[in-house]
């Protein structure tokens, strides 16, 4: 399942990230914020009209757009 499709409040884990698809700049930012295989992730909020989503990543809460979240594959924790 992709992170942008993940139902809210469902503890999950990152299975894979499509770093190539994100482009260099975005990929680096996501890495810096701690996106990586095996990290715990949980969707918390979704903006209206397909706005950004907020997700818990490890101990942080990160906001990102759905297009970016689509590059992140998740699996149940």
């Amino acid at each position: 399942m992709r992170l942008d499709q993940l139902p809210l409040n469902q503890p999950s884990r990152i299975a894979a990230v499509d770093w190539q698809g994100l482009g260099e700049r975005q990929a680096r930012r996501l890495r810096e914020l701690g996106f990586d295989d095996g990290v715990h992730v949980e969707a918390l909020h979704r903006g209206a009209w397909r706005g950004p989503i907020a997700c818990r990543l490890g101990r942080m809460v990160i906001a990102l757009r759905r297009a970016q979240a689509a590059a992140v594959q998740v699996e149940p924790a």
């Binding site: 700049r25 701690g34 706005g51 950004p52 906001a63 970016q68």
Partner: protein, 615 residues
């Protein structure tokens, strides 16, 4: 020299404020647009040490100007900066997994370092127990627990820093940036964090409960709109009293000068130029401070990032990111700090677009112009329960600026600032009680910048304008008006044909030239023009500006003048900041051209429509 370095949201600035107090200097690194904040603190034996607060960054990749400077300072390559003798690495105790990665990178540089494990109180509240001894052993440097906002752990930090600085041999300086494998560092960081933290209960209660409202798809925007409404309401209603007092003071100073000085050109310059000209600007200080107080509190509390989250969808519609909301909101106080705040926007195209539209946000310098013209031409009648016509017109002017900016962004994003972007990525930090002291320091710095501007640029322009409108003097018995005969009048006469079609007269042409220095000057310029013509004494001139304007301008002309000021880039300081932030003359020149074109068209459209409607 010791530098504070760490991730954004680690509480670095709070720690810096706590360590140095108000003894700070804010400047800029040469050639780049990064703020250099330095301050002094003293070790226990009284030895002083200079402390530098580096910008918050996530890594040492030289991707943004902030990171470039951080990296250059750490490697001793930053122009005009000595190499640091030690680092204070600031980490958020509640977010070790992530902050440790950067800390490992920093400690790996080999400079003497102390880790400030900040916000341990929040970690405790979250049920986290952190083994600092274990952390220190893994990192190989001392680790001190601190709570910067409550000034806890500062003495221990100073002592540890003292030991680190004194015991260090000449630091082995890293030869080059070791790029390091980000992923490997990240994994090591997670392993260390796991080993050093014990979670007692899983709780993040506060922030999560608040966010359930603040980020709710329906309630969230309502809360945001409510906050914005309260903010602008407060800016205008709370500032009334101090603004009136400042006006009283200005009047009193003018009276004193008139009473105690002989009638002379010098007195006239002092009263019309200095006291009234500068006073008209200083009168807006309370307004600016209230707006900034709100912005600083919203930022310090962590809400501003939530606002960016809520606004992202809307901003994405015109090709911008939610991050642009913060600089644009600051621009309602003044475009200069707004444009500087765009530094946090990662994508260069997003950032450029935000810079180019920021001058359209209705900054506080437009208010003197708006309030004088509205006061003179718009009747103070009610158009509905609690809605006055004057207030409604003011509201429309604000909306016109926002709509213009959004439209311009959509066009710019498809033309000159095409490509890139498409991203919005932000950490949502935990909510925090803003610290009064930090807000006060922020306000103080804004006030100083503003007053310095009023005391230099605006004072100089007003004085020069007074001289140019007063000389040469019309020979006695001539029918020519002084405002047309003077040097300024002749300059205005050459501009007049350009603005004649949009309904502007000679006096207005004369007023918009000095308004280039600062929009507020338009008001004092109109005052100077009309009082010099009438050769009143200075006191009467001030009281009767509104009446005089009513006599000299038609309603369509007045409305056109308002529309002009919504768009016209009449502020050289803004243009100068755009030049600095974009490193060249290309974009400031572009801004001048497109905004003047917009202003001319908007004023023209207003004038022609109003005339056709027979207003």
């Amino acid at each position: 020299m010791v530098v504070l370095v760490g991730n954004p949201n680690a509480g670095k600035s709070a720690l810096f404020n706590a360590l140095t107090g108000a003894r700070q200097k804010v400047g800029n690194y040469p050639g780049v647009t990064v703020e250099r904040k330095s301050g002094r603190m003293a070790f226990d034996d009284g030895r002083p040490v200079e402390l530098i607060d580096l910008p918050g960054t996530y890594s040492l990749d030289p991707a943004s100007p902030d990171e470039q400077v951080t990296r250059d300072v750490l490697f001793g390559r930053q122009e005009g900066e000595r190499r640091p003798s030690a680092l204070v690495v600031v980490m958020d105790a509640t977010n070790l997994d992530n902050h440790l990665r950067f800390a490992l990178q920093l400690v790996g540089l080999g400079l003497p370092a102390v880790v400030a494990l900040n916000m341990v109180d929040m970690a405790e509240r979250d049920g986290l127990e952190i083994d600092t001894a274990r952390l220190a052993a893994e990192l190989g440097v001392p680790v001190v627990s601190t709570v910067a906002v409550r000034r806890r752990g500062l003495d221990e930090l100073r002592a540890a820093l003292d030991r680190a600085v004194s015991s260090a041999r000449a630091p082995a300086f890293p030869a080059a940036a070791e790029p390091g494998n980000l992923q490997a560092l990240q994994r090591r960081a997670r392993t260390i964090a796991k080993a050093a933290t014990h979670q007692r209960v899983a709780a993040r209660a506060w922030t999560e409960r608040l966010d359930r409202f603040a980020l709710h798809p329906v309630l969230g925007p309502i809360v945001l709109a409510g906050l914005m409404f309260v903010m602008f309401q407060a800016v205008f209603s709370w500032s009334q009293w101090p603004v009136d007092r400042l006006a009283d003071l200005q009047g009193w100073l003018g009276d004193q000068a008139i009473a105690h000085l002989p009638d002379s050109l010098l007195r006239s310059l002092l009263v019309e130029g200095v006291i009234n000209g500068v006073g008209a600007v200083v009168a807006f200080l309370p307004l600016i401070l209230i707006l900034f107080a709100f912005i600083l509190v919203l930022e310090a509390s962590g809400y501003m990032v939530r606002a960016a989250f809520l606004m992202d969808r809307l901003m994405a519609g015109v090709g911008l990111s939610g991050r642009a909301f913060i600089p644009l909101l600051s621009s309602f106080a003044c475009a200069i700090p707004g444009i500087m705040a765009t530094r946090s926007i990662d994508d260069p195209r997003d950032r450029l677009t935000t810079i180019l539209i920021a001058p359209m946000m209705t900054c506080s310098a437009r208010l003197p112009v708006y309030s004088v013209i509205i006061g003179a031409f718009i009747p103070a009648r009610s158009v509905g329960p609690g809605i006055g016509l004057q207030g409604l017109v003011l509201f429309v002017l604000y909306i016109a600026g926002i709509a213009g900016a959004m439209l311009a962004a959509a066009v710019l994003r498809r033309t000159v600032a095409r490509g890139g972007g498409g991203g919005f990525l932000m950490e949502l930090p935990k909510y925090q009680m803003p610290v009064l002291r930090d807000v006060a320091i922020g306000l103080w710095q804004r006030a100083i910048v503003f007053l310095r501007r009023a005391g230099t640029v605006i004072l100089a322009v007003t004085a020069v304008l007074w001289v140019l409108t007063s000389f040469p003097q019309v020979p006695a018995g001539s029918a020519t008006k002084q405002s047309e005969y003077s040097v300024a009048g002749r300059i205005a006469s050459t501009l007049e044909p350009v603005v004649r079609p949009i309904g502007f007269n000679h006096g207005m042409a004369l007023a918009i030239i000095p308004a280039m220095a600062a929009r507020e000057v338009a008001v004092s310029a109109l005052q100077t023009v009309y009082s010099i013509d009438a050769s009143d004494d200075e006191k009467q001139g001030q009281a009767r500006l509104a009446q005089r304007l009513q006599g000299a301008w038609s309603l369509p002309t007045a409305l056109a003048f308002l529309a002009w000021f919504v768009f016209a880039p009449q502020c050289l300081s803004t243009i100068a900041v755009i030049r600095r932030e974009t490193n060249g003359w290309r974009w400031p020149a572009f801004t001048l051209a497109y905004l003047f074109a917009l202003a001319w068209l908007a004023a023209g459209a207003t004038f022609w429509t109003a005339t056709a409607l027979g207003l």
